[in-house]
């Protein structure tokens, strides 16, 4: 008998040569980026020795600059929820550009079912429906939001799976449709004043808890369930998956539905946190969500990536954004730098793949 643990046919397996998980690279990149900002903060002449990471002014009980960390993780959480879904879509070999506008449309719709009747004793000035829609139990708006997400995702997925439209085109169309829905819903007017129960969903650090909770759930699903395995299989070799008897079309519909439901859930949390919904909500979110996944090592050619990677990618994204603000980089330069970083991440993915090809 051979090494019964991993190998067959008497071949020796060298534990030391086991491939280094990509997530570790991203983790080190994260630390490196933090160090770079810390060093920049110490050396740039106009920074008068504030620290990026540490509490240099003794404002907090811990050694870390808690305020900054909290802002980073809060900023990242809502788009992070979207990127959990985008990760699955990309692993399955697709792309979803419609998630940002879906956030806008879902927020408008959901908020209309979450309004309270009286604001400071006066009738709600932003009421969308009649009195029947006031003070509904929070499960109703949440359900409406998830159902809307599932509906949009089912259309995306069906178009891609059954009519074989490229995912880029199908979801680009849905991008415009959703932005249109968001604007048509109230002809551009914001929808505000949710019930207390609804407002509690996204208050304080709640977005972070949702993000972490959902990340754990989907990490488990991708790694340990049939759904996860087949998502990787389809993204890795769609023909092989089909020839092996996997119902590729039905699976794709499911993947896009889950992704859109996560985007709709992000809309719920965002509108709850802001206590209002606006048709312009979620601008650029689809791109940022894709960026988080790609920075986190999810391969745009499908088949590779992980939820842990995406969570780390989201942290990198948040740290970079916050770091730019910290070193007082102008907002428009920030956009440019962010774009460069996204391109860099994709180039890195390509290089990694070509190296893997050379090895085999």
């Amino acid at each position: 008998m051979a090494d019964t643990k991993h190998g067959t046919g008497g071949l020796k397996f060298d534990e030391k040569k086991r491939t280094w998980p990509n997530e570790l690279n991203i983790f080190f990149a994260l630390i490196l980026i933090i160090v770079v900002f810390e060093v920049l903060g110490q050396t740039l002449p106009y920074m008068n020795d504030q620290s990026f990471l540490f509490d240099s002014r003794g404002r907090f009980d811990s050694i870390f600059n808690e305020a900054r960390l909290r802002i980073i993780i809060l900023q990242v959480s809502i788009i992070g929820i979207i990127s959990l879904g985008v990760t699955q879509v990309i692993i399955s070999g697709g792309i979803d550009l419609s998630s940002g506008p879906l956030v806008g449309a879902a927020a408008m719709i959901v908020m209309s079912f979450a309004q309270t009747e009286l604001v400071n004793g006066n009738p709600n000035p932003k009421a969308v429906f009649g009195t029947w829609a006031f003070d509904l139990p929070i499960l109703i708006p949440v359900f409406v939001g998830l159902a809307f997400g599932a509906f949009i995702g089912a259309i995306n997925g069906s178009l891609i799976a059954y009519t074989r439209i490229p995912p880029f085109i199908a979801t680009l169309g849905m991008f415009l449709i959703c932005r249109g829905i968001a604007q048509a819903w109230t002809r551009g007017k914001p929808v505000s004043f949710p019930t207390e129960g609804y407002a509690a969903l996204g208050t304080g650090m709640m977005p972070v808890y949702w993000f972490i909770g959902l990340a754990i759930v989907f990490h488990f699903i991708l790694k340990y369930t049939l759904y996860g395995k087949r998502t990787y299989a389809i993204g890795s070799n769609e023909d092989a998956a089909r020839m092996s008897g996997i119902n590729v079309q039905r699976h794709k519909v499911l993947v896009y539905m889950i992704a859109s439901m996560l985007a709709a859930f992000a809309a719920i949390i965002l509108s709850s946190k802001n206590l209002t919904a606006q048709s312009g909500m979620g601008i650029f979110y689809e791109l940022y969500a894709i960026a988080m996944a790609v920075i986190g090592g999810v391969s745009l050619t499908g088949g590779r990536g992980s939820i842990i990677g995406t969570v780390l990618g989201a942290m990198v994204f948040g740290v970079i954004q916050s770091g730019f603000t910290y070193i007082k980089l102008d907002a428009f330069y920030q956009l440019m730098a962010m774009g460069a970083i996204i391109i860099g991440a994709v180039v890195l993915d390509k290089v990694r793949q070509e190296r893997a090809m050379l090895r085999s």
């Binding site: 008998m1 051979a2 019964t4 991993h6 190998g7 067959t8 046919g9 008497g10 071949l11 020796k12 397996f13 086991r18 491939t19 699903i221 340990y224 369930t225 049939l226 759904y227 996860g228 395995k229 990787y232 299989a233 993204g235 890795s236 070799n237 023909d239 092989a240 998956a241 089909r242 020839m243 092996s244 008897g245 996997i246 699976h251 499911l254 088949g303 590779r304 893997a356 090895r359 085999s360």
Partner: protein, 257 residues
Amino acid sequence: MSDIILETKGLTKHYGGVHALTDADFVLRKGEHVAIMGDNGAGKSTFVRQITGVEQRTSGTITFDGKDVHFAGPIDAREAGIETVFQTLALADDLDVPDNLFLGREITRFNWLGPFRLLDYKAMREATIAGLERTAVKIPNINNTIQNMSGGQRQCVAIARTATFASKLTIMDEPTAALGVQETAQVENIVRTLKEAGEPLILISHNMRQVMDLVDRIVVFRRGRIVANLKKEETDGQDIVAYITGAKTGAEYEGAA
């Protein structure tokens, strides 16, 4: 009960104007190993794709295990008991060996969870190791992704896949193309194991020695038609080559090609 496991009558496939397969009458008996030979583009893979439901035939009938069959897809064929190694290996590069072996038929627990049912990694890994040991396939680390494996190892995984699951018919489309001497010997061993187990096999190959070594009967395809049906004892390599190149055509197929 007849001893015929597979029979096709007038099996025909046109791709637009391309007549890739015309009027193929083919019979395979239980326990029999048959080779299909023919030049590139002769229609061998096309024939396999019609039988396994990967494509839908233009006309003709297929009888498998006593029943007229119309497989809607490869999963139907597999459920009916046909295991296939396709010429384009149906492997997922980013998955490891057990994942690939069990692609599309994963062992799962808590099946009431539907698509979210749990994978039984342990059972799949153990079955994989057992299957690979039985077929003497050498893989240093089955938890590596297929991508990092040599062409021969990949091929062996694809073949071990069919040999791991008991079936009524195994089809291999050029299983040893691009294999080294040792790997070829391994694949041939797998074929012999099947023969001993009494499992019928259709082997597509360009390798004359291998064909003469392994099978009972040779069917030759030329330009989409069957042109010869030869018992191994009654033929030799030169004879077969004559049929492949068109220098000769079997008596019963005169006027066909």
